[in-house]
Symmetry: C2
Subunit: 281 residues, 2 copies
DNA sequence: CAATATCGATTGGTAATACCATTTGGAAGG
DNA sequence: CCTTCCAAATGGTATTACCAATCGATATTG
């Protein structure tokens, strides 16, 4: 009983196999052609599978950690070919909703989505030239300003301690000339700021924009990151005092320096070589 | 003839310049089996194709409107199977970078990415429960506040005229009881606001968040939208006077009403049935 | 007996192939 | 010249086969 894990997964027969992942919604292209001329046929088969699983996810029928049947089983149950199932699963994986694992007791597992898919998409827009770096940094400044103010209002001591620790790690990494580690900590700072602000939406968006800055920094291999430590300590200090205006000003100063550096140094983004498709590692 | 490709049997990082679309640089020597215990075999074949095309896009080698070779040609040029090429193209389409068209003179065309992919991803996060509606509306309020202030500072008469026209269309649609049209205009308002603010990043983000609100509104089929017209006229009026604080306050009041309605009425999102996968129509 | 090594079954990953559906352009016919 | 229709090209789907990776169970060995 390999996948008893998955709930019900009812299949009703083999021929009309129109079936669904969990209940009967009138099935897919059982007979391959959309019934008569009703529909526009623009819907591709794998999209129906995609939407079906996605719908079940949204309705809570599938929870993070659950495992879907194997591709072969799904294909048989749905009455479609395995490539169709594959493409649907791939699209879902691409959206960060599924994780595909090989091997026995592998399969498609429901993920609890995080912001990485958003990051990648925003990333695409920037590097495809649809969004300019100027506007990105500007928007990022506004968002961080808001996050700082919220952190002043809502941050807890635990949040501040986490930020302290992060700044300290950053200092060590910078002193050790560990560029990758430094930038990693730099990014964590923003995430922790979002946490202190108690707004995950803000956190995700800030994370998406910051990741782009991080990639650029990584490609630039900057030397003088030391002043960042002082700046952040000042911001953190103001936040701890719950002085929103002062904290905002300090953060703005910080952003002015950082963004000016990034925008100036990375004249043309085409020079940068990045590694996309993080595979949700 | 499939495996006739040369094999640089790379050690782990030589798969850099492996390929160049359209420039006959055959095969990913990148053997799928990363040598020995080196671990981390994470990179799947189609991801290399994906990244390769993506890189060419970012470097400007491929411009919007360009057409890639057919799947069959690509498969042959790259020395991989057609399914691999397919999955890569699919992923790119999913990211909004490609458009696949059937028929002769069809193929894979480079798209100029827009914010829809971002919207869908954010959408997923919300409806999968990772992001709460409360936080979404809060973040949206902040962003719109910023947009309003920027519009006060940078908006042109043309921008304001467009906003005027939008409000008027919205009024007509609401009076005609055309719910879909009303909501469509409601959303356009935010996009136009972003345009007036002269920051595309802000526009994309606001659009993503607003689209979720729009979907909820669509599912709720609200009745009394009439007060929206008055509220927006007020906001617009303040913006035109370049009075940022007043415009911000008016917008905040507007958001308070709208968001309270949405949050209250849509107790559990699971009731809502939405249509995902817009297929970038 | 316990720790280790090996094998095999399951599952995703890739490949090759065939055929269908759709679209478009050009040829044939009016 | 216009219309109609067919055929080639292309994406979409299905089928099949095999490879690769993983993990559990069994066998082996200390």
């Amino acid at each position: 009983m390999a996948h008893a894990v998955l709930r019900t997964l009812t299949r009703h027969n083999s021929h009309r196999g129109c079936l669904d992942i969990l209940e009967e919604e009138e099935g897919f292209g059982c007979d391959s052609r959309r019934v008569e001329a009703g529909r526009i046929m623009t819907q591709r088969l794998f999209e129906e599978v995609y939407n079906s699983i996605r719908r079940d996810l949204m309705r809570g029928k599938l929870k993070p950690g659950d495992k879907l049947p194997s591709e072969r089983d799904l294909a048989e149950q749905l009455g479609v070919g395995r490539p169709v199932v594959r493409e649907a699963l791939r699209a879902l994986e691409n959206s960060g909703m599924l994780e595909l694992r090989k091997g026995v007791s592998g399969g498609a597992f429901i993920r609890q989505g995080d912001g990485r898919a958003v990051s990648r998409t925003v990333n695409d827009l920037v590097f495809l030239g649809k969004l300019s770096l100027d506007q990105l940094t500007e928007a990022r400044s506004y968002l961080l300003d808001q996050a700082v103010r919220l952190a002043c209002a809502r941050g807890t001591d635990a949040d501040f301690a986490a930020l302290d620790a992060n700044v300290e790690r950053m200092r060590v990494a910078i002193e050790a000339q560990a560029v990758e580690a430094s930038i990693s900590e730099i990014m964590d700072f923003y995430a922790l700021l979002g946490t202190a602000a108690k707004n995950d939406v803000l956190t995700v968006i800030i994370g998406s924009l910051s990741e782009i800055i991080a990639q650029i920094l990584l490609a630039l291999r900057p030397e003088h990151l030391t002043d960042l430590v002082a700046m952040r300590r000042e911001v953190l200090d103001k936040i701890r005092q719950r002085d929103a205006d002062a904290a905002s000003a300090a953060m703005a100063a910080h952003m002015a320096v950082l963004h000016a550096y990034v925008v100036q140094k990375s004249g043309n983004l085409h020079m940068l070589d990045l590694e996309p498709f993080d595979s949700h590692a």
